[in-house]
Symmetry: C2
Subunit: 214 residues, 2 copies
């Protein structure tokens, strides 16, 4: 973290590529994917376009690598804490998600558009990270050490509900950023976190029962 | 409704255009927008491509007109009944929505993709119909004659929540069609309908109070 991206320090090709990816992610935060060009990265990194093509192949592969890195960042940053009750841990994770989308709004929005609009590679990355975020809700809340235990039983219906909830959370965040109106950040977060257990409650009892549970 | 689309019956240009739009909507049900060409419509309607260009101008204008008509159909078909309690009326409206998306899956999906992917005209139509569907929830449930009255107070936070809920409902329906798993149509509908009041319940009390209400 002490090296600047324009430095001429000797790095291994792998380290250099990682550094360039980090720069790409930072540039994407305030730009759409369309605006994130090899030229821009070359200029910001102070290296030749030729070298960038050497590292990334072509623009699509570069975009793919940057978006994968951004998705990994999102997953890492929203990891819930190990301690605390399930709703509290969910709230902390959602606050991190909200902050991430606020800070990386342009890039995030362009990924959502690209994924929804039919770019298959980006759609796959988007779906993978969505699955990782959603899957965590079942997995991590079921950690034996977690205070309060599991808030969501894992059944086909609750899986579907979590998928719907996650689409709702994204819509809430993007709509709120566009037009917060009188809705405070705190109110938004409260709705996002409290809605998950509330939605699980509306699942018909028979569809909320895990196989083998009492 | 008694005239076939291939008939040579004398119709006014306006009636003829309406008939062609209806045919376009029917063709779109099982096709993406990309697959809905002027050629296909000409073949199905048994008239010349030239005449279709005369009615619609170009392919984009034709798509726009068909999608507008499809959106109007969706809004009409999902109109809740006047009688009944608010949750029951919502359930009937949502069942109609579910059936519509099942019956028009290809076309609906391609509209969602086009709207999300950055086609501004289609995005506008999509947003307009979304607003019509969402706005109805506040307006019609507030009908003075409606049994049970209003289920949702109209505040900035509840407006945002309804927007999120509506994104969730769409995701639930599209995911369920893709992969119903063990989730029955009834369970799905119950979750869709019951989730709205449940979500409103999680809105912090202060943000659920309409201005001027007690």
């Amino acid at each position: 973290m002490s090296q600047t991206t324009t430095g001429r320090t000797r790095l291994s090709p792998e380290e250099r590529r990682e550094q360039l990816l980090d720069l790409g992610v930072r540039l994407l935060a305030t730009r759409s994917l369309d605006e994130l060009s090899i030229d821009l990265l070359a200029e910001e990194a102070g290296i030749s376009r030729g070298l960038l093509y050497h590292y990334f192949g072509n623009k699509h592969a570069f975009h793919e690598a940057v978006v994968r890195r951004a998705a990994d960042d999102l997953i890492a940053k929203t990891t819930p804490p190990v301690e605390g009750g399930p709703v509290e841990r969910l709230l902390i994770s959602l606050a991190a998600y909200l902050d991430y989308v606020v800070e990386n709004h342009e890039g995030y929005l362009s990924l959502v558009k690209a994924a929804a609009g039919g770019n298959e590679t980006l759609r796959e990355i988007y779906e993978d990270s969505r699955s990782a975020l959603n899957g965590r809700i079942f997995r991590e809340d079921a950690q034996p050490g977690a205070e309060g235990g599991q808030i969501i039983p894992d059944t086909p219906t609750t899986r579907l509900v979590v998928r719907g909830w996650s689409a709702m959370v994204e819509e809430l965040v993007l709509s709120w950023i566009d037009e917060p109106g009188e809705v405070t950040r705190e109110q938004l977060l409260e709705v996002m976190a409290a809605s998950l257990p509330a939605l699980v409650e509306v699942v018909p009892a028979a569809a909320r029962q895990e196989p083998g549970s009492a």
